[in-house]
């Protein structure tokens, strides 16, 4: 259907009310009852009445509702049949608007309706309009609650270990678990999974020694603890979370304005994982950290500010609702695995979330101010402030503001004075040239002296101000409450121009008997209540969703494969007992992410081989029940960071800030300096998590290997195998350069001359963590021999190793 008014409502409510005339002449009334009402009831009510459907937001069953109209404006203009949409529709003149859709009204019926409108549309029908036009919700909450997610988390009775739960399911499905993977595979798996970097040959050897000495279980536990304590742990697991929260450093729409302070949120996330911040607290801080006095928690609310934004939008209200929608979407999917924003324009098609439920949450975020910064102008019509953070943040910010105002004023004065000086100077020169009387000249000279003095005073003032410049305050992105909370009206079809009843702030009703619903005081936005409700142990989703995310990163697939959607349209859990076991353990441990990871990686389920098993494969080809470990591809960051590690190039220290901060507040697309800085920023050898992530300009080397699309919530990345990846490995400058460096490292820096076979062996050890077979050694030797210069051959060989599927996959 073409939208003939593109969602722009033309009606004016006051105007239509003013037309209400209680006294209708009898003749007109009769005409209405005989000619109009039956036609409407017969032909229109089935789709346009309170008791049936309200299609297009239009009701034709009361006077007010008819005057108010639907999504595209008032149905009739009393007295003006020619400009009434209703007439346009029933005449079938417009291909896009033909009503009733299945049959055209009879000519006399059309004539009557036109005549009636001509009369001024006399209409005795009451029944209201405004509140009544709320799309009638057909959500059956009772039934909706039968969905498994609304049942409380229940730890399977008697189960003490994760493996018991997994094995019980395998048995029930007639599957046999495969054996445990070899230590060479385990050590790679643990290093990559926990810190995203490969084990060096000595690190791998230390593990093998421990396996011999302590046995596999204890050796794995020891290594796990060691890796969980590495600062690289937060860099890896923080990045997983940054995928979920669509982290990026620009607004990423048609015009791309930078978020120079977004990196503070990035660093907050990395630190939180490194410190094993309890996940409930982590959640609370991100949604409502501004209610505390802690800067860290305030920075956490950057979560709500870093989303993509349509800064070019002219209409403030439209923009506001876009931001709200984005916040609802991010919050509900990241923490609850619920696609609440599907209910923005209509009731959720699958889940028990009504449109009113959506606007309950919308009110909470409408009562929130989002500080995302960005430079105004140049197409940015919606710039905002940032939050001052750090010691004495507010004082500093105030002083800074005052300083800038004073400086601007002083500069303005100086400019004016300079203008005068220049002008006088010119005039003086002219006087002298024209040989005017000395009196006139000396008068002007005196004037000039005075002006010069003033100018000097101005410059002194500027110098003084600059010398006494207050410290630059520190800023971050985030949210704060508005002074007064405000509910949101329900927007028919999500359109701010068609407002219906006001919905009080709150939590979706489906949760009422499950968690109880928090009370939101009249003077509270409700955001804190929302945060506490999400982080409450009674919430059946928060722990399950996060436990499932963690499982996904370690086993390849989620127990619920649709990791960001636990609703009816998501996939069912393959083993709900297992999910509940994990969620319950997670909460019991005080929401410790590290603890849950430890529990999983020390299990047999995690440590199994990824090998094939014919019988199992026939029953469960997708490994839904985890009879083996999955073959998993390294993510884009691990590929880059490993190659830099092999080459001896990786700078393991965290990068201070972000190159985007250096670029400053600007529109990225239009700036050469920024582009140059970006190039340099991408060229650094810090870990990938510190690379600049500007929307629509993510580093190619990451993008090629399915880096998360930074405008979307990505709980699970794509995993593609495309020729552009192969071309990157075969021909890119990054790979060629690093292959050379890897070859140098394989040769060794100790000056020892090594035989070719030893070099081949060292290459395998460095990149793949294993020894080559005799056949592989022979093939490698053949490859090297195909080059005139064996050094060149060695580079080609090293490049092949990092290009191999074996390097790229964890098996």
């Amino acid at each position: 259907m073409k939208s003939f008014a593109a969602g722009f409502c033309l009606f004016c409510f006051a105007f239509s009310s003013a037309l209400a005339d209680p006294k209708i002449p009898q003749g007109q009334l009769d005409f209405f009852e005989k000619k109009i009402r039956p036609v409407l009831v017969e032909n229109c009510y089935s789709c346009h009445s309170k008791d049936e459907k309200i299609k297009g937001g239009l009701r034709l069953d009361s006077k007010d509702a008819t005057l108010m109209g639907g999504d595209t404006g008032p149905a009739i203009e009393p007295g003006e049949p020619g400009s009434s949409l209703l007439v346009e529709a029933i005449e079938w003149g417009n291909d896009d608007l033909q009503m009733p859709p299945k049959h055209k009204l009879k000519p006399n019926e059309i004539a009557d309706l036109k005549r009636w409108i001509q009369m001024g549309a006399p209409d005795p029908r009451t029944g209201g309009s405004k509140a009544g036009t709320v799309t009638k919700s057909e959500i059956d909450y009772e039934k909706g609650r039968e969905h498994w997610i609304y049942q409380p988390v229940k730890k399977p009775a008697g189960a003490k270990k994760l493996d018991e739960v997994v094995l019980a399911k395998l048995k029930a499905e007639g599957l046999e678990p495969v054996g445990i993977a070899e230590p060479e595979k385990l050590v790679r798996r643990l290093y990559f999974d926990l810190i995203g970097l490969p084990p060096s040959p000595p690190q791998a050897n230390a593990f093998f020694a421990d396996v011999k000495k302590l046995g596999r279980e204890k050796a794995v536990a020891k290594l796990t603890d060691q890796l969980l304590n590495s600062p690289h742990f937060g860099e890896r697991w923080g990045r997983h979370w940054l995928d979920v929260v669509r982290y990026a450093e620009s607004n990423g729409m048609e015009r791309n304005f930078l978020y120079p302070k977004a990196w503070k949120y990035r660093d907050y996330v990395i630190a939180s994982f490194n410190n094993d911040k309890p996940f409930d607290q982590f959640a609370k801080e991100q949604i409502a950290g501004d209610f505390t006095n802690s800067d860290e928690a305030k920075i956490a609310t950057g979560f709500l500010a870093i989303g993509p934004k349509m800064l070019n939008e002219r209409d403030k209200e439209v923009f506001g609702y876009e931001v709200i929608d984005e916040q609802i979407d991010a919050t509900s999917r990241a923490f609850l695995g619920l696609t609440v924003s599907c209910a923005r324009c209509h009731d959720h098609k699958f889940d028990a979330i009504s449109q009113a439920d959506y606007y309950k949450l919308a009110g909470i975020f409408r009562s929130t101010t989002t500080h995302f910064g960005t430079k105004a102008g140049g197409g940015n019509r919606q710039a905002s402030t940032l939050m001052a953070v750090g010691e004495n943040a507010e004082k500093k910010a105030a002083a800074w503001k005052e300083y800038n105002q004073k400086l601007a004023q002083a500069n303005k004065v100086a400019k004016q004075r300079q203008g005068k000086v220049n002008g006088t100077k010119k005039r003086l020169a002219a006087l002298k040239k024209q040989k005017k009387p000395p009196a006139q000249i000396s008068k002007m000279e005196a004037e000039m002296a005075e002006l010069t003095k003033e100018m000097k005073a101005s410059n002194n003032r500027i110098d003084f101000l600059k010398k006494n410049r207050p410290p630059v305050p520190d800023y971050a992105m985030g949210v704060t409450d508005r002074e007064k909370p405000v509910d949101s009206p329900l927007l028919i079809r999500g359109n701010p121009e068609t407002k219906a009843e006001v919905v009080p702030r709150g939590i979706p009703a489906v949760f009422e008997p499950v968690t109880g619903l928090p009370k939101i005081a009249p003077d509270a936005s409700g955001r804190l209540e929302l945060a506490n409700w999400i982080a409450d142990g009674k919430n059946p989703l928060t722990a399950r969703v996060m436990a499932n995310r963690i499982w996904t990163h370690l086993l390849g697939d989620g127990i619920v494969p649709t990791v960001d959607n636990f609703g009816e349209s998501g996939q069912a859990p393959s083993n709900v007992e297992l999910l509940d076991f994990l969620a319950a353990s997670f909460m019991e441990s005080g929401w410790s992410v590290k603890n849950l990871i430890r529990e999983i990686v020390t299990s047999d389920a995690y440590q199994r081989s990824s090998g094939h098993h014919e019988k199992n494969y026939e029953i469960d080809p997708d490994n839904r029940f985890v009879w083996r470990q999955s073959l998993r591809r390294l993510d884009a960051e691990s590929i880059r960071d490993s190659i830099l590690t092999f080459a001896g190039e990786l700078d393991p220290s965290p990068r201070d800030g972000s190159v985007v901060d250096q670029m400053g507040d600007r529109n990225f697309g239009r700036d050469k300096k920024a582009t140059e800085l970006l190039r340099k920023g991408i060229g650094t050898t810090h870990r990938s998590v510190y690379l600049p992530i500007i929307r629509n300009a993510t580093p190619t080397g990451l993008k090629i290997f399915d880096f998360a699309e930074s405008s979307l919530i990505v709980g699970k990345r794509n995993e593609t195998n495309v020729p552009s990846q192969a071309l990157f490995m075969m021909n890119s400058g990054f790979i060629t350069n690093n292959s050379k460096k890897i070859a140098e490292r394989v040769c060794g820096t100790d000056g020892k001359v090594r035989k070719q076979n030893e070099l081949i062996w060292r290459g395998f050890q460095l990149v793949l963590g294993r020894s080559p077979s005799e056949e592989e050694t022979a093939r490698a030797a053949q490859l090297i021999a195909s080059h005139e210069n064996p050094d060149d051959g060695l580079i080609t060989f090293c490049q092949a190793l990092i290009s191999s599927a074996e390097f790229r996959y964890l098996n």
């Binding site: 939208s3 696609t339 080809p621 794509n718 495309v722 020729p723 490698a780 080059h787 490049q799 191999s804």
Partner: protein, 465 residues
Amino acid sequence: MKTHECSQIYSPGLTRRDCLSGVSAGFGYAAFSALAAQQAQAYQNPLAPKSPHFPGTAKRVIFACMRGGPSHVDTFDFKPQLAKNDGKTVKGKGNRKLKKSPWGFKKHGESGLPISALFPQLAKHADDLCLLNGMYANTPAHPQAFVQLHTGSFQFVRPSLGAWSLYGLGTENENLPGFITLAPPDRVGGAQNYGSAFLPALYQGTKIGDYGQSVKETGIANLKNNRLDKKQQRAQLDFLQSMNRDMLEQQQKSSRIEGVIESYELAFRMQAEMPDVMNLNDEPKKIQEMYGIGKGGKVDSFGRQCLMARRFAEAGVRFIELSHGSWDQHNGLSKNLTANCRSVDQPLAALLADLKQRDMLKDTLVIWGGEFGRTPHVKRDDGRDHNATGFSFWMAGGGVKGGMRYGATDENGIAAVENRTSFHDFHATILHTLGLDHEKLTYRYAGRDFRLTDVHGEVMRDILI
């Protein structure tokens, strides 16, 4: 994603070999003897040709995108009344005065299609052109309208038209990318305009060249090895693939490892084929001249894009987008619009003629237009402003009727009034020519099925043969 049984493949372009490659002609095991469960797991190249929903009339699309909003009343929307109303004030438009087109329109071809004097070459193809005179966009702002033109939505990040086409049909030549965009603008949405959003990444467009620069010296990323010759690289690949095959044997039944192996072979072939396809020097001098190559300046530049497009089309690329701009003539209309039209007229005419002489126009849909049009009423004497309420596109070939005008603006060319065509309708129609039902071409993401046309879109059936 749907998998199609071979017997269901309908598209006349598909051979049995194409068909097999869609099911896995894998290195690991014989796919046809496998159990159903194994088939589900078998490696399927997601770019392998897929059967359309119904027989399409177009196999491929060439979209010449004119960034900036070309003036419709000066090019393809003949408004005789506007000339008569020249100088009159328009109510409700800030009392601006109507400005007639400084260029004359003449009737061309058997159909007598009126085309402006700005397009003398293209006018010779009048009987192949279907002028869409009733287009409208939802906003007169460049970035939004441009993104909406490409993805259907300016509010959300959505897959682009080319990505949807590739997702729907796969590609006919697996040695080349299936969706290529030549010199697209970095601004006005940048990569979003050829992105895949939530669709798998391999459906995104491959960008060749930079906006505003000639594609003469440009290439695709990482296509050339500066260190190894072909023989050495093949030796490297043989070693690498032997390792990969060992791993495949070890893992068994791994579509992932098969995918890696195939991606290297494809890449290796792409290295060979891509530069060849892009090498315009292969073309006879006569053809190059026909496209305006050698004429210098912008004619040469756009001529190269058009000729490259034809070569890509011939080689089996599904969706090719060309870029030209800017058409944003707030000032200097007479000079700049003349220059713009001059730089695209000959190349576009050559493209149509060339496709025709190769019998490819019948199944290649060629599209021309920009994000909106320009106002017939003006503030300045020699410039027109943004007009989203009515403007024009044209299509040719691919099963679209020639020599017709579809839709119309009001007498002055301000707003579309007849057969009003939104970008959704436009998208629905393009997909339709490819044999894709825009309501059925869906992708499940975040719990719901998304389509290019959201809940809108109506196919312009009247323009289809």
